[in-house]
Amino acid sequence: MTNSIGELVDADVLLITGSNTTETHPQIGRNILEAVDRGAKLLVIDPRKTDIARQADIHLALRPGTDIALINAMMRIILDEDLADDLFISMRTENFIALRDYLHRLDLDELARITEIDRATIHEAACTYARSSKSVICYCLGVTQHTCGTDNVQAVANLAMLTGNVEKKHSGVDPLRGQNNVQGACDMAALPAVLPGYQSLADLEVQKRFRDVWKHDIPTTPGKSLTEMTHSGKDGSIKAMFIMGENPALSDPHLNRVKTTLENLDFLAVSDIFLTETAQLADVVFPAASFAEKGGTITNSERRVQICRRAIPPIHNCRPDSHIIMDLGKRIGCPGMDFDSDAEIMEEISLLTPIYGGMHYDRLARNHGLQWPCLDRNHPGTEFLHKYYFARGKGRFTITRHQEPYEKTEKKYPFTLVTGRGSYHHYHTATMSRNSKRLVREYPLALLEINRADCEKLQLKDGETVELSSKRGTVRITTQITDRVKPGTVFSSFHFFEVPINELTVDAMDPKSKCPEFKVCAVQLKKVAHD
């Protein structure tokens, strides 16, 4: 997030795109609703009528995968209505002319047709967003999990820069991070091409710094992305894997390929708190301690690093992940794997990661956490990003063009399947939440959201088991008639191992982020004959 979470309350316009915020980020959803209660306008871009979309002043229910067309249309309208922030554009950005000329060549009727939203609605949303100087954009995986995910994000950034809604409080572009510490994992370089703090792997100075502290050579070429790894199949390019707290055997797209990969490894080790579908395939399983059984820090969406304290000692033989890594490191001869405490680990992070430079344990404990960049001991942390200048200098407008999703519906597969989290009560592959009896009671089985009109056409009843197939696989799932999805679109979650929805999804991915297109694939529904 370029903003802090607390700033959302005082925004005048909130544009939420590809985020079912109230169910997946309830704490942030609470801030958004409070802003709405104070009179802010709420715009929601989502193919589904989610709970937050129901609260919206304008719900832009676009056809899945047409985000760029919609944002381009909004930007064109902003230009036509003379609502662009010329001063911001000239002082703080570059390449505007190219974008402007491109937008002027677009046909708004054509864009409206692509998105399946009428022009007047797009017009109203664009003007509402652009007229306020306190406009915030929050986006989530509905934007990124597409073959054009990177361009989707670029389009959103273009929109914010075009209206000058970036540099100040109550305005910005806020990706909402899906897991409690996924921001921290990215910050610590659980990414293929960077070192901690997004320092370039190719930078010789940076390389030297890490070599000096770690007393060990470091790889200097980028590694592979997650989907590249789990989809490498039988090609033998990956011989062994160590998977921690991740369940690709249920969460990654086109699951049959993932299984082929994992089963053809020479060696698989998994560290997790429960015996997940992935762990069941492992040669060695490390029972890891849960969040309550270990200390450490967690970095949230607003870049705030907070100490998480141990509440109970580890049960049985569970151990914190850091201890598992240190012991493994020692045995393979890696120097420096002898940290006595979480504070000592944090000291090394501060030493090697400029944006975490001042995040020492005692300060984190005193300050209810700190937001990066926090460069040294005296640095107060950073409430919102890009004040005075962007990280790269000037913000660069990049033209983004609409592209159709990888897989189109066809006669045999006439429905578009969108996947995501299905409920407030379950989290991702439900490794944890399905161990809670009460949460299971509240949301006991996988459901396929389907519009009543489609059900009537196929003569399906609510709660009926159907066969859902794509070109890649078939699952059996229970229908839920709802107006959350439009006719022609169905939705389901990836929470339930009995209904591994990712056997159906495509593994086509964004060429830059390597994020797979979980949000669109073509499927068919078939009645199941009663035995």
Partner: protein, 349 residues
């Protein structure tokens, strides 16, 4: 023999008194922990200085009388016959620094757990407890106990009631154990003088004028007896309820629970009672899948009507005590105060 109904305790004598009380029973008071949270916790051995009487305790007394999860009985099965063993007996406990709203809630729970039969574990704990309340001179941000007749000071129900007069407490004794306690430790106290009475009266008046929220609870209760709530209100509230159960869990008077048997081996196990919430869809869903409550429209109907309509009709008083905790916890901003505000503004149909 002095009159033990009302006495004055100098603040200098508070900790010496508490130290004595701790020898007689487990002493539980609001304690500020190292992370800045104020919670009811046993007062430790080292000293009593970490008792926090400035902030509202985050939880009410409910967890001490109806724990989030409690073992009701152990069971063994022998040839298909169940035999039960009772849970461990309750400890003698003195609660200090309890706010008026939370004691009022406890009096309501006494009613709930006494009919149609007396709940054994609840009353075991209750009978082993003595409650010392602290009247509120300064209501907290979301409080509205004045509107629910459950504060800021109380007239009955307490073992002892403390009112902070600045450098001293005005202590009133309720029936039974409270008076015994004053009698036993009388040397810490002095008699009430007219000035103390005037000061107490003055503070009471001032406290009543300091509520920041004007929530029309009695008006809402009476109006509910006369006219139905517009469907639009229920739908608006339901559209923002995410079924987290937070309101019911922090509520000092929400007493819904579920009972489960947890087998430990083939022939024995424990019977466990745990909190539940009428706002949960699983609370009303039938085995066959039908749910008589349509969550998209009526998620909160049962909860609000129970507190404000049905309890008012049967006991003459709402079972909301105005503690304000649900206001803080609700993700959707659809707590009971939102309902009352919407409903009291509703035009006659």
């Amino acid at each position: 023999m002095i009159d033990l109904k009302e006495l004055i305790l100098s603040k200098d004598n508070l900790y010496p008194l508490l130290r004595k009380l701790r020898k007689e029973a487990r002493l539980i008071a609001p304690v500020k922990n190292e992370h800045g949270d104020t919670l009811f916790r046993p007062v430790g051995d080292r000293d009593t200085t970490d008792i926090d009487l400035e902030n509202q305790p985050q939880e009410s007394l409910k967890p001490f009388f109806l724990p989030q999860q409690e073992t009701l009985a152990g069971y063994t099965i022998n040839k298909g016959e169940y035999s039960f063993s009772p849970p461990p007996p309750a400890l003698d406990t003195i609660f200090f620094g309890v706010r008026s709203c939370d004691l009022t809630a406890l009096l309501y729970m006494d009613l709930i757990f006494s009919k149609p039969f007396k709940d054994a574990t609840y009353f075991d704990r209750r009978n082993h407890s003595l409650i010392i309340t602290l009247g509120c001179n300064q209501p907290f941000a979301n409080c509205f106990c004045e509107a629910t007749s459950s504060g800021p000071y109380l007239e009955y129900g307490y073992g002892l009631q403390f009112i902070d007069l600045g450098d001293r407490y005005y202590v009133s004794a309720g029936r039974g154990k409270g008076a015994d306690l004053l009698n036993k430790w009388s040397y810490f106290f002095r008699e009430v003088e007219e000035e103390d009475q005037n000061r107490r009266y003055q503070l009471f008046l001032e406290a009543r004028g300091q509520f920041t929220r004007n929530i029309q609870v009695p008006h809402a209760c009476r109006k509910l007896q006369q006219e139905p709530v517009a469907e639009a209100i229920w739908e608006k509230l339901s559209s923002r309820c995410y079924d987290c159960g937070g309101c019911a869990y922090v509520c000092p008077t929400c007493t819904c629970f579920s009972v489960d048997d947890k087998p430990q081996d083939n022939s024995s196990g424990i019977r466990v009672r745990s909190w539940d919430a009428c706002t949960s869809s699983g609370f009303t869903r039938m085995t066959g899948g039908h749910n008589p409550v349509d969550r998209t429209r009526h998620a909160l109907k049962r909860r609000f009507l129970h507190k404000l309509k049905h309890d008012f009709a049967s006991h003459g008083k709402a079972s909301c005590t105005g503690c304000g905790r649900c206001v803080d916890i609700c993700f959707g901003g659809v707590d009971i105060t939102t309902f009352i505000e919407l409903f009291t503004q509703q035009e006659k149909p």
